[in-house]
Structures are given as structure tokens and as C-alpha cells.
Amino acid sequence: MKKEQTIQQKFIRSITTPKNASEENPQIDVYRELVYYRFLEVFEKAYPRFVKMISSEQLSSLIYDFLAVGAATPILWQVSGEFQEFVVKNNTLKMPFLADLLAFEFLEVQMYMRKYSTQESQDFSLDTGYTLSDEIEIRHFSHPIHHPEFDKNPFSFEAGDFRVLFFYNEKNEEILCEEISPFVEDFLLALDVDTPLLTRIEQVASEYEIQMQELLEILSPILESFCERGIIF
């Protein structure tokens, strides 16, 4: 099989490198185009925002560079994750928000491909202990990728520390996200099903020296909304 393997390796090398005018072979070109457009289609679906921000020449160059390295996963949608790592590692684009943007877009893809449990809606009570759903994701970004106006002029947004909560909206079968404050993130991560919310809020009020009533007025509607959406249960 040595001969066959060498033939196959040579063939793959030919179809994963950009067309070279001195080595024109229309039969090889067919495969080169089929492979290229397969990857292009997947990346356009996974990274619609990123693709709109770069030129088709830049995207083409990235795809051919990626093809030279190679994709490992046999599951097509997962190749976008490998592409993300590759683009960030070999970043030649002058986009300070590149890593955040690709991570944001691929997380959405990943979350759409997960299986979610059906949660019975619960009545919200401060006397009940809650836990954070393991079906949500909280990610930190240095750029406000989640901002609805971000794509219009991404370079105009200042960097910072943004915490974004991603969750599955069962009613519309969609993945949604919203920014949360560091305080809310810490509060959510410290939730304990054995500790009633009211007790936990009292602990936090004491720890941060905040008026209990004031904290309750801030946190109560937020937590009730999280409960309604299955983010805590």
C-alpha cells in the first residue's frame, strides 16, 4: 500500500493548495474547488459576522492556510472550532477583537448543537435555594461582541471586561445572551441549592456592607427573571 498511500498524499497536497497556473489540471481543479467550497460554506455559516468583516481574499487565504495544516474532526460542524483556534493562533488580521468574536460565534454554534433538558417552570421564591443551570455558559470577553451595534463599527468600541451569559430559550428554540455584571456573576456562581436566596443575599449584603433592602431590590427581579428562564432552578 506504500505506492497507493503516496498517490493519495500527493493528491491531497494538490487539492489543498491554491491553484498554480504552471500546474494546471482541470481534474485536480474540480476537487480543489469542491474541498475549498465545502470549508467556505461551513465557515460562512459558523462565523457570519467575522466573514462580513473581512474581504473574500482574506477569507480565501485563511482557508487555504488552514487546509495546509488540516482539519482533524470527522464531524463537519466541529471543524469551525479548529478553524477558530487556527485563525487566532496565526492572526495576521489587524482586529484586536478577533479572538473574542470567533469565540463568541463558535460558542453559539456549540450551544445550538447541544441537547437540553426540559425544565418545569418554577414559581420564584426568595425562601428557596437555587443552583445555576449547567446548560448555560458565562464567558468573559475583552470586547463588547454582544453589543447589538458592535458590527457596525467594531473598532470604535473600547476594550474592557465583559461577562456574557448565554442560555437556551426553550420557547423559541434559540440561544440568547446578555451581559451581566461581575457582582451578578459572582452571586450566580456562589449559589447553593441548600441555602435559601434570602439567606445568601443577607450574607452578600453583610460581606459587601450594602443595605439589605437596597440589595434585595436590585437582585430580586434579576433572579426572578433568571428563574423564569431556567438559568437558575
Partner: protein, 267 residues
């Protein structure tokens, strides 16, 4: 699956239209790689379909002809998927799509040699052992012959007969290959052992130029391919037949219109 039964390749483009009409195919074929992880928007309908219809799985990523170890992790996940949804039949392609840990996600032509035949037989055996079911292999479309010690029909027949796998005869692929490589499709079919056929595929292709037809699955089936199907039918083949469409997928009603045409010809 029954004699002359007709199936339809399941596509997400029309998945949610299926239960909105009375039009139903006898069975569906799915690409397992597209459903092993599925989009939350499709899960409920997919699971309903799997419980209502006979399903055949037609894979893309096995890469049976790669001279690199089988991806046993992928195969185990595939077996779990097939078992979970009680899918008995699984087919793949007589081709390769990855090498040295590089996935191409396209069906690439195999060198047609005795050594490759022997190698494929070993791989089929290993795959069948892991999956716990027998498999069928499709004659692939190809635009380039990387190496050939034998004719394609000889290659296909040897692999199928020696490996014990069944043949998934793709009639459109025979037509496209016959055009691109200038051979008579009927003579090709005459050399195929019809007894080894598990089921058949029919699909549309694109006439890119006078010299090149591409197996795009993106258009209606051409008349010449329907004629070739009739030729196969008249030769006594009664195996199930599936209509494939992967690109520019029309709505379900239009898809079923073509399906009805297929049924009319193949019954």
C-alpha cells in the same frame, strides 16, 4: 425494505414541512454525521421521524480507503447513534475523505489496485465488527483517476464480493462518470453483479461544460439518468431506490413531486 420501495434523503431544509402534508416517502435516508449532534431546532422533528419511518444511515466521514487507522472513537459514537435510533442499515462510499489526520469532507477517488482491494476488505471487516452490522458501499463519482491497475467495475465487484459488503449502486454516479471518463454507462452496468445491490441512489448533476459533469445533487434528476434507471429496472433489479438532493434543496412539496416521478418510473 421492500422491493421497489422508494425513499428520500432527509434534509433540514424541508424537515419541518414533512408533517404539514400528507405526502410521505416510504423511508428516509439520513447522513449520521449531521445528526449525531443535532441543532436544537431540529431535534423534536427528527426524533418523531425516526420513530415513524424506516431510516437508513448514509455516512460521509468513514474514509474507508484511507491508509491511516480507522477513527474508532468516531465509529463507536456512530454505533451508539445507530443503536439509539434503532437504525439497522448503514452505507458509505468507496472512496476516501481523509488522510494523515487531515479531513477533506469530500469524496476522493481511490487508486484502483489489487492491494487497495485487499486493504478495503480488511477495513470493511473492521468497520462491520465495530458497528455490529453489515455495511454497503457506494460507487462514487470521480473526476480524476489517481491510479488504476484495473477497470472500475472490476474494482467494485472485487471489493464487494471479497469483503462481503453490499453495493449501494448510485445510478447518477455511473452516468456522470461515464460522461466524464467517456465510457458506455450501460456496458458498465452490465458488468455489475446486481445480486450484490443493497439499494440504489438517484440524483441530479450539473453540466458544467461539454467535458465536465459534476455530481452536485443540486438539480432535478436529468432525463438521461431516469433512462439509465429504467435500464437497471428492466435488467430485473428490484432493490429499494432513494432520491438524493443536497444543494439548492427545494421545498418538500417540490421534492415529493420528483419523488412521485421516481415512483412512477420505478414500480
Amino acid at each position: 425494505m421492500q422491493k421497489y420501495s422508494c425513499g428520500l434523503g432527509l434534509r433540514t431544509e424541508f424537515l419541518h414541512e414533512i408533517y404539514a402534508t400528507e405526502l410521505k416517502p416510504s423511508w428516509f435516508e439520513i447522513t449520521p454525521e449531521n445528526w449525531m449532534h443535532m441543532n436544537i431546532k431540529h431535534r423534536k422533528t427528527f426524533e418523531r421521524l425516526v420513530s415513524d419511518f424506516e431510516i437508513v444511515a448514509h455516512g460521509l466521514s468513514l474514509s474507508i480507503g484511507s491508509n491511516t487507522p480507522l477513527d474508532t472513537n468516531f465509529l463507536k459514537n456512530l454505533k451508539t447513534f445507530l443503536d439509539d435510533y434503532e437504525i439497522e442499515y448503514y452505507s458509505e462510499h468507496l472512496s476516501f475523505c481523509s488522510l494523515d489526520n487531515k479531513q477533506m469532507y469530500e469524496l476522493l477517488p481511490l487508486p484502483m489496485s489489487e492491494k487497495m482491494v485487499t486493504y478495503l476488505c480488511e477495513r470493511v471487516d473492521a468497520v462491520q465488527n465495530i458497528l455490529g452490522r453489515s455495511i454497503a458501499l457506494e460507487n462514487a463519482s470521480y473526476y480524476y483517476v489517481p491510479y488504476a491497475e484495473m477497470e472500475e467495475t472490476e474494482f467494485i465487484n472485487e471489493v464487494i464480493e471479497r469483503s462481503g459488503a453490499k453495493l449501494l449502486l448510485d445510478v447518477n454516479n455511473v452516468f456522470v462518470n461515464s460522461h466524464n471518463h467517456k465510457f458506455d454507462p450501460k456496458e458498465f452496468l452490465n458488468k455489475i453483479n446486481y445480486d450484490n445491490i443493497a439499494y440504489m441512489h438517484i440524483a441530479g448533476h450539473m453540466e458544467v461544460s461539454d467535458e465536465l459533469f459534476v455530481d452536485t445533487h443540486g438539480e432535478d434528476v436529468k432525463d438521461e439518468v431516469w433512462d439509465l434507471l429504467e435500464y437497471v429496472k428492466n435488467a430485473g433489479v428490484t432493490k429499494p431506490l432513494l432520491l438524493e438532493r443536497d444543494n439548492d434543496v427545494p421545498n418538500y412539496e417540490k421534492m415529493m413531486h420528483e419523488y412521485k416521478h421516481m415512483q412512477k418510473i420505478y414500480s
